[in-house]
């Protein structure tokens, strides 16, 4: 029997209970009359510290705190996809219809719709032995996602009874398992999993496939692998969110988990609206059918912001275990780190750099390490790729969150203010960005696109490097004094920047570009470069080449060649030939 535990002190989101041994670490608790949701974050002999995920205004000392007997968990089951949740997995649409437009403390609704009927087909028979991760039933969650119901990781046994295939509700018992101790486990359509514990897998696999995003600067220059981690740091106005949205829309993953962590309310509204109307190019279905949104906007309670990242990754792991490639976007991890800082400060912990707690790096690495490609318990292959936005204070990349993130990610897409000011989008700075996945992906690129792809990539990077070098000189003495060959390099670099790296998210052709076309585009620019070099060698002047207008044509070809009309590239190659031929003579 539990004694009644009373609130002793209240300080913002942190409350304390004195003299109790009833709670365990990370237990979910209900606080006060309104039954606010909280989590135990420290326990000692004298007092138990609880962080509350809702506003504590109006709470009084002496109100009761109830334990739930289980850790802070997510509910996993059909109905997650296409839905939008807050940081502690309360469904926002349901909250809106029950409580209205504002989120008041103490609001409670069921995570998943318990009345909806799912067409379940049961995959096991009585007498069969099931091990953790094994699929016992499937149902179609959306047209794009087949929801595979798996035996929870800590349960195994023999099927002693199972329901017939057909329509079932969320809490209907589908299978009863008897484990070796004779204990029976009822498996329904849903299960719980603690958010801070990674779901177990059989084996970590090597990364060997790129996560294709249709964004040229990413796929061609700084690709990320399926199961990889990337960071997108950038000051405000550089297009972090825009980049994240583009990736969420076009990345070739089976499922997208988009976590809006401490960001703007209107942005989430936009995502909701836009994803409902956008069509996935592969499946011709609305993008919402493969998207799960977690929205804990900046004005929602800060403790729930801290939890939102874990809620997101726990859900991602669940779908990974079904054998899907999941991509998770976290926008922004800096807000999450700031939530850590706020909570740490109200616990009066000793701060490290800039007031951030000393455990910031370890928390960051624990989070990013949940990405990867795995062999699941059920024997399938699945992956989670994590793309985290970072919002450095004062656009200064030397601040603690950016620096610590850099240590744990292998792909770094630095957004630059000066590119954004010149409206060069995506504003990914080629001089500061890097990827470590090239070697992992070499084989894939070579067998799917030929050896040219990586060669082109390197040449393009070299030209951009040269440009940076020559521009230093131009800044000092003007461009007129450069030799023709360097002028040509500058001009080609300009074509790469404007005609290749800049990508218009609002243009129907340009918003998503298949890898093959990206390669052909690089190819044609490099072809132009080599041809022009030859022409220069044969004595023509740079201004003559400029006069042919060929540069403008190549710059604009991104809009002129449709994504499925790649034969047209041949015409352009011929055009280059003919235009330059004149000068050769």
């Amino acid at each position: 029997m539990q004694n009644s535990n009373k609130i002793y002190s209240i300080n913002g989101a942190i409350i304390k209970v004195k003299d109790t041994k009833d709670f365990f670490m990370l237990e979910k608790v209900f606080v006060g009359q309104k039954q606010l949701i909280g989590e135990v974050i420290a326990v000692n002999e004298n007092e138990t510290t609880i962080q509350v995920y809702e506003s504590t205004a109006g709470l009084k000392p002496g109100e009761e705190v109830l334990g739930s007997g289980m850790a802070m968990s997510v509910t996993l089951g059909p109905g997650l996809v296409s839905n939008i949740f807050d940081g502690i997995q309360r469904p926002l649409k349901a909250l809106n219809s029950v409580y209205g437009a504002t989120i008041l403390p103490g609001s409670k609704v069921k995570v998943l719709d318990e009345d909806k009927l799912w067409n379940v087909s049961v995959k096991v028979k009585v007498g069969q032995t099931l091990t953790p991760g094994q699929i016992y039933a499937v149902c179609s969650e959306t047209q794009l996602i087949e929801h595979r119901l798996m035996v929870p990781p800590n349960i195994s046994g023999i099927v002693v009874s199972c329901a017939a295939s057909g329509l079932h509700k969320l809490l209907d018992v589908i299978v009863i398992l008897e484990d070796e101790n004779g204990k029976q486990h009822e498996l329904t359509l849903c299960q719980q999993w603690p958010i801070r514990v990674p779901r177990p897998t059989k084996q970590r696999l090597e990364l060997n496939m790129p996560l294709i995003t249709g964004q040229r600067v990413i796929d061609s220059l700084f690709p990320i692998a399926k199961g990889g981690v990337a960071a997108v740091p950038g000051g405000f106005g550089t297009g972090k969110t825009m980049t994240q949205h583009q990736l969420a829309k076009w990345a070739e993953a089976d499922l997208i988990v988009y976590v809006g962590c401490g960001e703007r309310g209107n942005e989430m509204t936009q995502v909701l609206k836009e994803f409902g109307s956008l069509i996935d190019p592969k499946s011709q279905r609305p993008l919402t059918e493969r998207t799960i949104l977690i929205a804990n906007t900046s004005n929602m309670p800060v403790a729930a912001r801290e939890a939102s990242i874990y809620t997101g990754v726990a859900i991602a792991e669940y779908y990974r275990d079904m054998g899907y490639d999941v991509a998770m976007m976290a926008d922004s991890t800096s807000r999450w780190a700031e939530a850590l800082r706020e909570i740490s400060a109200s616990l009066e912990e000793m701060p490290a750099e800039e007031g951030f707690p000393a455990y910031l790096p370890s928390r960051l690495s624990q989070f990013y390490e949940r990405a990867g490609r795995y062999k699941t318990l059920g024997g399938m292959e699945g992956s989670i790729s994590i793309i985290g936005a970072v919002s450095p204070q004062g656009s200064d990349f030397s601040e603690p969150v950016t620096q610590n993130t850099k240590r744990f990610v292998r792909c770094f897409w630095a957004l630059s203010k000066s590119l954004a000011y010149g409206r060069h989008y995506p504003a990914i700075d080629w001089n500061m960005s890097y990827t470590e996945y090239i070697e992992d992906l070499r084989l894939w690129f070579e067998s799917n696109l030929g050896s040219e792809f990586l060669q082109f990539r390197q040449e393009v990077l070299n030209i951009l490097q040269d440009e940076t070098k020559w521009l230093e000189i131009v800044k000092l003495i003007g461009s007129d004094v450069l030799p023709d060959e360097q002028k040509l390099t500058l001009e080609i670099a300009k074509i790469i920047r404007v005609g290749f790296l800049q990508q218009n998210a609002y243009h129907k052709i340009d918003t998503y570009v298949p890898l093959k076309k990206q390669m052909l585009m690089m190819g044609i620019i490099l072809n132009l470069y080599n041809k022009c070099k030859n022409v220069l060698k044969s004595g023509a002047l740079f201004t003559d080449i400029l006069g042919t207008g060929i540069f403008e044509v190549v710059t604009k070809l991104k809009y002129d060649i449709a994504n499925d009309d790649l034969k047209k590239f041949e015409d352009y190659n011929k055009l280059i030939e003919t235009k330059l031929m004149v000068l050769n003579n």
Partner: protein, 458 residues
């Protein structure tokens, strides 16, 4: 039922400690009654079984450990509202200070509001015409947006704010704006300037003012924007009005927060500001928007002065991360006598892309905006080159850009404080300036647009 407690345990800056208080709630409002009959308001900021820490709004002057009676109200800080608030002037904590008496309240609203469910929001798309070219064409304000003005001491942000207030209108909407004006830590002259300007332009009856001047207590300053936004939300969501909220100066607000935080002994973050500055600012800025199914809207134009014109200072920096863009004023343009001195490259409106174009402003708006940005960025490059090698040495093209940059600043950005340009005038003016470039130099303009704009004339 309310409780009264006699005496205090401790007084420290704006904080007092009350001992042995029972039945008191977190963030509850209390009144501190002095022996001489004067009353100060306060709020509970820390609570445990033995003591309550109370933050006193009007300063702790005159309080002693024995002369004070504390009365608990049993509710959080609320603002009395009714439609009568239009045309009235209040203190930072919502008390009427214009001598016209208390408000006859229709209801009392919690000034902290509650976070809006993102599902319940309507994505803002209606273009607000301010009549200012630099804003309308290049960082368009959308109804329901929060778009701050980043300024510096001595620049003309107040004049600009007044011009926006006077000229703001939405096409095909008869419903005019009403204005909620919150002054935080501004000089008396500034408050007078706004008051006078509102009276002169005849909008005074449509304005609610919340004034916390620079010599008023800092704790009250923390409440000022919250009171103002509560009034704005009431007018918008319950009375169906479109509300434009001007908050000035957010830097003073953040400094008040810092002062208060350090008196509570909290661990400071960057530049001494508390670690929760981002969340705190967000709890203000996020209270802009439109609720689905409701008539009204809240549009916010916060003004902040960047200390030392430094955009990386924590206050503008964190603000930029929360708000949907920013309008940045530039000291150099201001020195050149260009009004409004809007620096167009760092200025940005995030909601612009969905609120312009066919059906909102004009079909060619986004192409023009892109081209102006691009050409002006090149003009800046030419300028920095000219400062190294001299204007004479520039190539003909660079000279052209230089010329364009100057023309854009004087003719397009610069205008009179009373000049109200329609969006069509603004866009036409932009194309007129771009005419000096050849077709190839207009790299953001596609063939079709080019022909449609210049076709007949060429």
């Amino acid at each position: 039922m309310s409780f009264e407690y006699l005496g205090l345990k401790e007084i420290n800056g704006p904080l007092v400690v009350l001992e042995g208080a029972l039945n008191i709630a977190f963030e509850e409002m209390v009144e501190l009654k002095l022996e001489d009959g004067s009353v100060k308001a306060g709020r509970v900021v820390y609570l445990d079984d033995e003591k309550a820490i109370i933050q006193v709004f009007e300063g702790t002057y005159g309080l002693s450990l024995t002369n004070t009676k504390t009365i608990c109200s049993g509710r959080p800080l609320t603002l009395p509202v009714s439609e009568e608030i239009l045309g009235r002037v209040f203190s930072g904590s919502g008390k009427a200070i214009d001598g016209l008496g208390e408000i006859c309240a229709e209801k009392y609203l919690d000034i902290n509001g509650a976070p809006l469910n993102p599902v319940a929001r309507t994505y803002p798309r209606d273009f607000i015409q301010t009549g200012i070219s630099a804003i309308d064409a290049l960082s368009t304000i959308i109804r329901g947006q929060k778009l701050p003005i980043f300024s510096g001491s001595g620049m003309q942000h107040n004049k600009l704010a007044v011009q926006i207030v006077n000229q703001a209108s939405v096409k095909n909407s008869s419903n005019d704006f009403c204005i909620v004006f919150a002054a935080m830590g501004v000089k008396n002259d500034v408050a007078t300037f706004f008051k006078r300007s509102f009276q002169e332009s005849g909008v005074a009856n449509n304005v609610v003012m919340f004034l916390n001047l620079s010599n008023d207590p800092i704790v009250e300053r923390i409440l000022t924007p919250r009171c103002a936004l509560t009034a704005a939300e009431y007018l918008a969501y319950e009375k169906g009005k479109h509300v434009l909220v001007i908050l000035t100066d957010m830097t003073a607000y953040a400094e008040a927060l810092r002062e208060f935080s350090s008196s509570k002994g909290e661990i400071p973050g960057r530049k001494g500001y508390p670690g929760y500055l981002y969340s705190d600012l967000a709890s203000i800025y996020e209270r802009a928007g439109i609720i689905e199914g409701l008539e009204g809207s809240v549009t916010q134009i916060p003004i902040l002065t960047m200390p030392n014109d430094d955009i990386t200072h924590p206050v503008p920096d964190l603000t930029g991360y929360i708000t949907e863009g920013q309008i940045v004023l530039d000291r150099n343009l201001d020195q050149k006598g260009i009004y409004p001195p809007v620096s167009i490259l760092p200025s940005l409106s995030r909601l612009m892309k969905d609120g312009i174009g066919e059906g909102f402003t004009r079909w060619d708006h986004s192409v023009l905006a892109n081209q102006l940005f691009s050409s002006y960025a090149k003009a800046q490059d030419a300028r920095s080159l000219a400062s190294v090698i001299g204007e004479e040495e520039l190539s003909a093209l660079d000279k052209k850009y230089l010329n364009f940059g100057n023309m854009l600043e004087t003719e397009f950005i610069g205008q009179l404080a009373s000049e109200n340009r329609t969006i069509e005038e603004t866009l036409d003016l932009g194309w007129k300036l771009l005419k000096m470039f050849s077709k190839e130099e207009l790299d953001r303009v596609d063939e079709e647009t080019f022909n449609r704009i210049y076709g007949l004339k060429n």
